[in-house]
Every structure is written in structure tokens, then in C-alpha cells.
Symmetry: C2
Subunit: 208 residues, 2 copies
């Protein structure tokens, strides 16, 4: 394994490889070449090999990659062999969709705690989880060693929720609020701004 910095673009492709391999594994495909794998996800074979090379040598020359072996390596690399406690703040439509999202379960990820500020929601069930009072957020995060927070609250509350989560020990944030959050450098922040996708389609259509 080399001590080079892995490009962020490579990291973003790892989950895509992982899911594709999961499907192949379920179909009892045993060996796959970088060419075939690349074709399935729409990237060149050379990029597949380069990406994997940042983490080790997982294939056999002249043969290809053993699906179960590569899968196991990727699971480890992605941290999916560990259990991450995840808290979601904001029991709205989008929060509901996320808690129920089938994609997570398949990956061994799940959301464990849901919080909201609305007294009418607190205590109610939400996709099988009890909605906690957001005033208890820090307490619950600390007690349960929650490391990942998902922010699905209105933009104007996002920063203060982020501050609270970080204060209580969360190390990674997934932010759906359409606003720029200020967080310390050591906190992992992933912005997921849903309106950008639709706007960029409108942009491309209006260019023609």
C-alpha cells in the first residue's frame, strides 16, 4: 500500500464499486475484470484499477478481481465492518425518507435516533423510531457515543443544530439544509443540497 493521498473523487467512487460488487456477488459472479466493472458503472477500466491501487493490490494479473475478496476489502476500507451510531435531526418528509431509505440497510447502515423540536411530534413514532425532544440532543449523543449526525432542519436552524452536535461529540455531519455550515476543520462535513440537482438540469436545458 502506497502512502499517497487518495483523491476525493476516488473516495466518492468507492461506494459505487461496493454496491455494484454486492449485486454481482448476489448473482454469484465470481471474477470480474476492471473493464467489466467499469462498463457497469460508466467509467474507464483504467480508473477502476487506479482507484483500487490506492488501497492495495486486490486483483490477479491476467485474471481479474475475485468479487468476494474485493468486496471484503472494500467493506473494510469504507468502514462498513464497524457499527456507526447515527442521529437524525428534523422529523419532516425528507427525514422520513432517509430513515426508511432501503439503500442504507443494504449497506449495513441505519439511523438510530430521531429528534425534532415540535411538541406534537415528540414521543410519536417515526418510521419505527421514537422521536426525541431536540432539547435532549446533546445528552443522548453523549450517552450513546453517536458519531454521525444528519441535519434535515430548516436552513435557519441548521448552524445551531450543527454546533450542538459537534459540541456533544459528533465527528461527521451530513447536511441537507441549503446553507453553508461553519464547522471546525476536523469535523467531516458532507453537504447534500437537493435543489442544486434540479437547477443544474434547468441550466442545461436552457443552454440548448
Amino acid at each position: 500500500m502506497k502512502k499517497t493521498i487518495t483523491p476525493t473523487t476516488t473516495i466518492e467512487r468507492l461506494p459505487i464499486y461496493y454496491r455494484c460488487l454486492q449485486r454481482l456477488n448476489k448473482m454469484n459472479v465470481d471474477i470480474i475484470s476492471s473493464q467489466e466493472l467499469g462498463d457497469k458503472i460508466g467509467i474507464p477500466s483504467t480508473q477502476v484499477r487506479k482507484d483500487l491501487s490506492y488501497y492495495g493490490e486486490f486483483g490477479r494479473r491476467g485474471v481479474g478481481y475475485e468479487v468476494p475478496v474485493l468486496l471484503k476489502h472494500l467493506r473494510k476500507i469504507l468502514g462498513l465492518d464497524q457499527v456507526w451510531e447515527v442521529a437524525l435531526v428534523g422529523a419532516g418528509n425528507l427525514g422520513h425518507a432517509l430513515v426508511n431509505y432501503g439503500g442504507f440497510r443494504k449497506l449495513g447502515l441505519k439511523i438510530d435516533y430521531v429528534f425534532d423540536a415540535d411538541p406534537n411530534k415528540i414521543g410519536k413514532k417515526f418510521a419505527g423510531l421514537k422521536i426525541h425532544d431536540v432539547s435532549k440532543l446533546q445528552e443522548v449523543v453523549k450517552e450513546n457515543g453517536i458519531k454521525v449526525g444528519i441535519i434535515v432542519v430548516p436552513a435557519e436552524h441548521a448552524q445551531s443544530i450543527a454546533d450542538d452536535l459537534i459540541d456533544a461529540g459528533v465527528e461527521a455531519l451530513w447536511n441537507f439544509a441549503p446553507t453553508h455550515l461553519k464547522v471546525p476543520q476536523e469535523i467531516e462535513l458532507k453537504d447534500e443540497d437537493l435543489s442544486i440537482g434540479l437547477i443544474s438540469l434547468a441550466y442545461h436545458l436552457s443552454q440548448d
Copy 2:
């Protein structure tokens, strides 16, 4: 205006500028410098200027950018001065969240038609919209000149829905199904794979 190709990264930042300027405009901020704008969204001033320069000269040297003027230009550039008919296929949780998503309304975008295959859902109301039978998809798309399709169906159905939409005249697809869609080159495709965000957080946490 130069005849250079605009980087895709620039295009993805345009909606962020737009939303930030909308907020500034509402706060009656009249003039903003590239430095201030960049600070607000977490990018260097030089990138703001460079990005905007692909489309024209919107600022005044020594002064900055007039918020309403820049906003107007961006609205035009992003195609938000036009009305786009949008159809969503898949009346599940995530579809519901998208139809209700406040971020779109603020931008003058909205979802107009919802489709599903479930007989129990067809005809029912869904966030204020009637759920149409997916078997009528092509018909409705053609009749109403729908140009944008949002795919929120299970992965195994995504490709055939995409084919149907394209066949009926849709030119841009926003795909939430965790699968690689094959579409003709002239079709604008934006993938929005929600599990990637969460996995990449797990990855970063497990690196430490």
C-alpha cells in the same frame, strides 16, 4: 462573453451563488464584493470572479456586484426565468419529500405530475397532487411537453422508466435510484445517490 467551455464545477456553484444572492436581496443588501460572497459560501473570492466571468462582466471595479443585477443575470443563466414542466415517478417517501421540498418553490421550480404503479396509490392525493397511473406516463409527458423527469423508483425499475420518459420526449433526468442508467448522449442525466453521502462519512471516520 467568451466562447470558452464552462467547467462543470462552475455550473454546480451557480445555484449556490443564486440562493445566497436571493437571501442577500431579501435582506436588502445592495452591493456585495466577490470576497464577501465567497466568504458566505466558503470559497475564495477569485473563484467567484472566475465563475461569473464565464458568463459576462456583471460587477463594477472598485465597487463590487449589485445584488439585484447579478441575481437577474443568474436567473437568466440558470434558466429559472422559464417554466419547466416536471414529472416525478415513484410516489414513495422520498418522492413525497421532493414534491414538498421548500427549496424548489423558492427557486420558482415545482413538480407538476406524480406517477406510480401501485393501484392503491393511483388516484389518491400526494402532497396536493393527484397520483397518475404510470401506464399513462408517456401519454401525459407528450401531451404536456414535460421536459424534466425525476426517477424515485426502486433500482430494478429505473432503467425502463428512464427509457419510457426519454421515448416520450423528456430531455433531462434526475435519478435517485442507486443504479447506473444508460441514456443517449443528448439527454441530461443527474445522479443523486443518497447512500454515497453516508458511506463517505463512514469512510472518513474509519480513516482516523
